[in-house]
């Protein structure tokens, strides 16, 4: 018996040592999930480092929630596997779950319990015991601003408070990885801001995976974005890298007055410009052109000089700054 316990601790130590060397919190390898004939997630592989805040993006029904449910061990994958903090979710699900704080979509809670009762129960369920239970519950209540509602029945709470109880539940036991499925869904702007600030604060000590379709939120707090569409991972990178590599990046709009053909020829001669597109001409002699340039280049100065050399007046020159929204639209567009 003692020998076995010793081996167990040795194994645990070896695994944790290997985690420290790799610093990888989540490793998903070829995750695949099919419901009957419908394939929800196809061959999803990604890697999440310790301390990252991941924005998990995708249109409705893209497979976000399914992927997250697989990571938490709720849905067993049809094929492939993932490891959380070095523990495989299929071989060692209990140990993997110990490292996860999960807030499901729509936050299911026990309506007939009071807030502190519920959190106490959840803390014990997560294997916290002794004095730590109270300590953890109080801390979670404090962090989520639930002091006024701690004795309320969960049934009587508003949506915003329910959301906070769900978040407090996820925080119990200081898990290394927080998986939040649409944490700001259905909240008012003030509440969204509070939750966002809380997540930002949490990111100091936790790795966070955040699923949402509010892009501004992701731009504000996430340092890595995973975009999934129709079950396929389309991109996994920092928001900056995604926007600069976008086709729309570096596109310039020009409006000038003069002859169209020579101007278009002259502009096309600029090195970084791939194509000059005539958008519109107006009755008073003004023309609007779009210059498709290579991503990450700025051709405004040269374009302006060329127009000036031709002696045409220029009234508008604009370089398109791509946002995450452009990235999202380009990657998940159906046409």
């Amino acid at each position: 018996m003692n020998r076995m316990a010793g081996e167990f601790w040795l194994e645990k130590w070896l695994i944790s040592a290997s985690i420290i060397s790799r610093m990888s919190m989540v490793q998903a390898q070829h995750l695949h999930k099919a419901f009957g004939r419908f394939v929800a997630v196809k061959d999803a592989s990604f890697n999440i480092e310790k301390g990252e805040i991941i924005g998990f993006l995708g249109p409705n029904g893209a497979g976000k929630t399914t992927t997250l449910k697989m990571l938490t061990g709720y849905l067993p994958p049809s094929a492939g596997t993932a490891s959380i903090a070095g523990y495989d979710i299929t071989d060692n699900p209990i140990e993997a779950r110990r490292h996860i704080g999960y807030m499901p979509e729509n936050v299911p809670l026990y309506d007939d319990m009071r807030v502190y009762e519920f959190l106490d129960y959840r803390a014990r369920l997560k294997g916290i015991c002794g004095r730590s239970v109270r300590q953890q519950v109080v801390r979670a209540i404090e962090r989520c601003g639930l002091e006024v509602k701690r004795r309320s029945l969960i049934r009587t709470l508003s949506k915003g408070y329910r959301q906070r109880v769900g978040l407090a539940d996820a925080l119990l036991g200081e898990p290394d990885l927080l998986i939040l499925d649409e944490p700001t869904n259905g909240l008012d702007p003030n509440q969204i801001r509070q939750i966002r600030e809380l997540i930002h604060e949490l990111s100091e000590n936790h790795t966070v995976i955040l699923s949402t379709h509010i892009l501004s939120e992701v731009e504000m707090i996430c340092n890595k974005v995973i975009i999934i569409d129709q079950g396929v991972i389309k991109a996994a990178d920092t928001p900056e890298n995604l926007t600069t590599s976008l086709r729309a990046a570096g596109r310039v709009t020009v409006e000038f007055k003069g002859a169209l053909e020579p101007a278009m020829e002259a502009l096309a001669s600029i090195e970084a410009i791939k194509k000059v597109i005539h958008e519109a001409s107006f009755d008073d002699g003004w023309h609007s052109l779009t210059l498709r340039a290579e991503p990450g280049t700025d051709t405004r100065e040269r374009a302006a000089t060329i127009i000036a050399e031709l002696g045409y007046p220029l009234r508008h020159i604009y370089r398109h700054v791509p946002t995450l929204e452009d990235v999202f639209v380009e990657m998940t567009r159906r046409d």
Binding site: F35, K69, T72, G73, Y74, L75, P76, I94, E95, R97, R98, I100, Y102, P104, N106, P108, L109, Y110, D111, D112, Y121, R122, R124, L125, K126, G127, I128, C129, G130, R131, S132, Q135, Q136, R139, E142, R143, D169, G173, E174, N205
Partner: protein, 276 residues
């Protein structure tokens, strides 16, 4: 903010198997007694036990020798409520969790399916046993009624119910044995569906089936395989146990049936999660 940093706090963790089971047990048992739900079942059960008592007192006043519970448990009225007790107690245990979505929270906590099944089963079983405790006060109440008639009408009523060990230990042990299996069966039905009503209906159906299987030999007489039906007959067992004839065969039967049913329940939960 005054809250300590992560590194300052050490969290006591326990990986004890039973501690988690007890956590689930405590919440589940509490949901029986801290909500009207459990009290409604208790009131129902006690009211129907009253009916049962009323008819059995009639029989008891004519016959002699056996304890009160013998007449109560061998009466038809007993089966009327006994069958419906189990769906009532168990139908919501897992079906409600699934319907409300809280099963997801439960199954993503570091808890095994077996622990969940065990915790919930023990809570329902403990509540079931609780339902039989008020019966223990009947002899005291008969004593009180005797005093009352003496004071009020000046008549010495000698109709007492005794606390004879043989009258009580037999019926209570068979109720504990059969209940163990029937609660497990109800829990299994609760795992089958996300709807309490469907779970309740399936459980009632299985209960009635088992009841009729118990009376097969009465209906068909003796035939080659009749010994199987004698062996599983809960009506026969209840009638012999309530006479004070304690037998270990039903204990083995119901213990193994309970364990098997709980194992199936665990499989059903895992299977439903897998195909969802």
């Amino acid at each position: 903010m005054a809250t300590p940093k992560l590194s300052d706090t050490t969290i006591n963790h326990s990986t004890s198997y039973l501690r988690t089971v007890m956590t689930i047990f405590a919440r589940e048992f509490r949901s029986f007694i801290a909500t009207p739900f459990g009290w409604v079942i208790l009131a129902c059960a006690m009211g129907l036990q009253g009916f049962s008592l009323q008819t059995s007192l009639k029989v008891m006043s004519q016959a002699t020798g056996e304890g009160l519970l013998f007449y109560m448990l061998n009466d038809m009225t007993f089966w009327f409520f006994y069958i419906f007790l189990f769906p009532l107690i168990t139908m919501r245990l897992l079906a409600e969790e699934e319907r409300m979505g809280t099963l997801e929270g439960l199954l993503t906590a570091p808890v095994t399916t077996a622990q969940i099944v065990l915790g919930k089963y023990l809570a329902a079983y403990a509540f079931y046993l609780l339902l039989w405790l008020p019966l223990l006060t009947y002899p005291m109440m008969s004593e009180l009624a005797n005093y009352y008639t003496l004071l009020r009408y000046d008549i010495v009523a000698d109709g007492t119910i005794d606390y004879r060990l043989a009258d009580w230990i037999g019926p209570y042990s068979i109720l504990a044995f059969t209940g163990a299996f029937f609660v497990a069966m109800g829990l299994m039905c609760s795992a089958i569906s996300g709807s309490q009503i469907i779970s309740g209906i399936i459980c009632t159906g299985l209960m009635i089936t088992y009841y009729f299987a118990s009376r097969v030999t009465e209906l068909w007489g003796e035939f080659p395989a009749a010994s199987i039906f004698h062996y599983i007959s809960c009506t026969d067992q209840i009638s012999s146990f309530s006479r004070g004839l304690i037998d270990t065969r039903p204990l083995v039967l119901y213990l193994s049936l309970t364990l098997m049913t709980l194992a199936i329940t665990k499989r059903i939960i895992d299977y439903r999660r897998w195909r969802r």
